[in-house]
């Protein structure tokens, strides 16, 4: 009898335990789920967003109209065409010092477009003009400053001066140059000597997201899918592997002179901006910072540390100084239209339809500039780097069916060398992460259905 009572009691305890545990578990989830649903239903506030392509480099007689595409996103508005009205002003001055004058922005009749014409008295023959815009919802609920540094770091427009003209004519596809050496090669896969490929529904294969080459010729490829870098020392067939604590999504990278490396992760979630992480040569994370603006497109090592090209300003902003991260609010105050290079100069690039304008800019203004025209459509400028007294520029030429890169060596007398390069972009990588220039050698990150590789092209320039 006692045994039966004990057995019954045991079953009762088990049943009660299971029942109350299950109820508590379900209740806990439902409470959490309703919290998620409550958060999901939170109304968003009014947001103002604007984009603008600055006239970074102008030629004589060219009219400078400033045009902004601006949006007011009001979650309460039923129809998007009925979103709130926008008003704005441009603050502009001759050169880069002195007080700004206020110009009202007006609609040009195109929905969402605000424009202002630059008065002739503002433009100067040598130093051009600097400006920023403030655009706000007419209700005053939200506003945006572009570039985000405002008066601290305005956009700069410079006269090209006596630019060296180069005409590329019509591009002959199918005559790309052979590399002088394949310095790294690796197959897709998940093995220790493979490189990973992000794949998914609707996802173009993404792999070997970026690379860099140090001055001694060591090649480092970012294998973002495996959260590591692969490092090839000179002449080595197989890479060494260095794990990194990264998100595993598309990223760009830059090697620092102290052996550390910076990874710029473009994917940002929940309203955050892209993340820059610094790792030592063993893969230990040293520090990180967010970018100042919502979008970033490349990271490069400058004379004083890494700089990042950010949007919507289109400005280069420093991410670190002497190894210490620079917070977003300081980054935006140091934004520049050009990328800093050695000697205190900057290199400024503007692609305008089928023309690319390039300028080396010093404290006194444009020191040397080029205008490169092409009959074949020009897409992005992948690289613009000084090489001695010259500049190496890599841009993509394209039609609706074909594309290749052209690498140009631009000198004081004009075009010194031109080679065509296969686009070699079977897999997606960082948008501007495909080329690096090291001591007269141009390196290209390429991919095929079999894997990724890095080729070296010797530019054979003095």
């Amino acid at each position: 009898m006692d045994g039966r009572r004990n057995a019954f009691g045991g079953r009762l305890v088990v049943s009660l335990g299971v029942l109350t545990g299950a109820l508590a578990g379900a209740a806990t989830f439902l409470v959490a789920d309703s919290a998620v649903a409550t958060r999901a239903a939170e109304p968003s506030s009014v947001i103002v967003e604007a984009t603008h392509v600055p006239p970074l480099l102008t030629v004589d007689g060219e009219r400078s109209d400033l045009s902004y595409d601006a949006y007011c996103i009001d979650s309460e508005a039923e129809a998007p065409e009925d979103s709130c009205d926008l008003v704005g002003s441009v603050f502009i001055r001759s050169g880069s010092t002195g007080p700004f004058s206020k110009l009202p922005l007006r609609s040009d009749g195109t929905a969402g477009r605000l424009v202002a014409s630059v008065p002739e008295e503002i433009t100067t023959p040598r130093k051009g003009f600097t400006y920023y815009a403030e655009i706000a919802a007419a209700t005053g609920q939200a506003a945006v400053t572009l570039p985000s540094g405002g008066a601290w770091a305005p956009h700069q427009s410079l006269p090209l001066g006596a630019a060296i003209a180069i005409d590329l004519g019509r591009h002959a596809f199918g005559s790309s140059s052979r590399a002088d050496e394949r310095v790294a090669e690796v197959g897709w896969g998940d093995g220790s000597n493979d490189v990973g490929l992000e794949e998914g529904r609707n996802l173009t294969p993404i792999g070997a997201s970026a690379f860099d080459v140090d001055p001694s010729g060591v090649v480092v490829v970012l294998d973002q899918a495996h959260r590591r870098v692969l490092r090839w020392r000179n002449g080595s067939q197989n890479p060494t592997r260095v794990p990194l604590a990264i998100a595993g999504t598309i990223a760009d990278m830059a090697l620092a002179s102290d052996g550390s490396l910076y990874v710029l992760e473009f994917a940002s979630r929940s309203g955050r901006t892209p993340l820059v992480r610094r790792f030592d040569s063993h893969g230990r994370e040293l520090e990180s910072t967010e970018t100042a603006e919502r979008t970033a497109s490349q990271i490069r090592q400058g004379p004083l540390g890494p700089v990042i090209l950010q949007q919507p300003s289109g400005q280069w902003m420093p991410a670190a100084s002497a190894g210490s991260p620079i917070p977003p609010e300081v980054q935006r105050r140091r934004g520049r239209s050009g990328r800093p290079i050695r000697g205190g100069e900057e290199i400024v690039v503007l692609r305008l339809n089928n023309e690319i304008r390039v300028a080396l800019v010093g404290p006194a203004g444009v020191r040397r500039s080029w205008r490169i025209a092409s009959e074949t459509a020009l897409a992005e400028v992948q690289l613009a780097e000084p090489l001695g007294h010259d500049v190496v520029l890599v841009a993509r030429v394209y039609t609706d069916d074909a594309d290749e890169f052209v690498a140009l060596v631009l000198g004081a007398e004009g075009l010194i060398r031109r080679i065509s390069l296969d686009s070699a972009d079977w897999a997606e990588s960082a948008p501007l992460g495909r080329f690096r220039l090291v001591r007269g050698s141009l390196y290209q990150l390429g991919s095929t259905p079999a894997g990724a590789y890095v080729d070296r092209f010797d530019l054979e320039v003095r």
């Binding site: 998914g200 473009f266 979630r269």
Partner: protein, 207 residues
Amino acid sequence: MARSHTFLACFVTAFFLTGAGTGAAYHTQFVATNCNTAAPTPTPYITRSGSATVALRARYEGYQWAGGCWNNNDRDDSPNDPTSDPATGGEGGDCSGFTFKVWRESLTESDASFQQWGMLRNVHGPYTASRFKSGHGAPNITASKSALLKMDALASESHIGMIYAPNADGTDQIIEAKGEAYGTNIWTRTYRGSSSYGGVRRTGWSS
């Protein structure tokens, strides 16, 4: 003493099993909990600027293969859905569903009219990226890539994204539903020059 231990063990096991089981099913809950099947509102005209606003409301939201429902809280409410399972019912559009709603198209391919879909209307539309690329459907045409304007699209066989703004260096800011690990956002891309991508335009913009 032994019975209290037995009770505790059963409680803890059941608690976690039930919670985990319900939690594992969470990823199928966003659409079921939040989304609707409301009819679209016909509109007499659309502007590129208005469609950019539609797209911006989806920024920072999630990605769901074959999906088309999102809210506007700047967060992926169903992160890390397994990409191999298209039936997870998570938040967000996929690339072609996102484009369909932003371009305010009809479910009927022969109909080029303008249809305003609510954010929480779960609709994908009849087009894949590949079909957009080839200009399928009465509202859609292929277009030369060098002539593309804001809110035109660049499509490959597997992906489509819309041009939000050009950059000074010749790249484009693309607004797109990229993938489960990325969600929906604006990124700088080089799709325009890539021969994998073709130009696509929704016809009928007022401005």
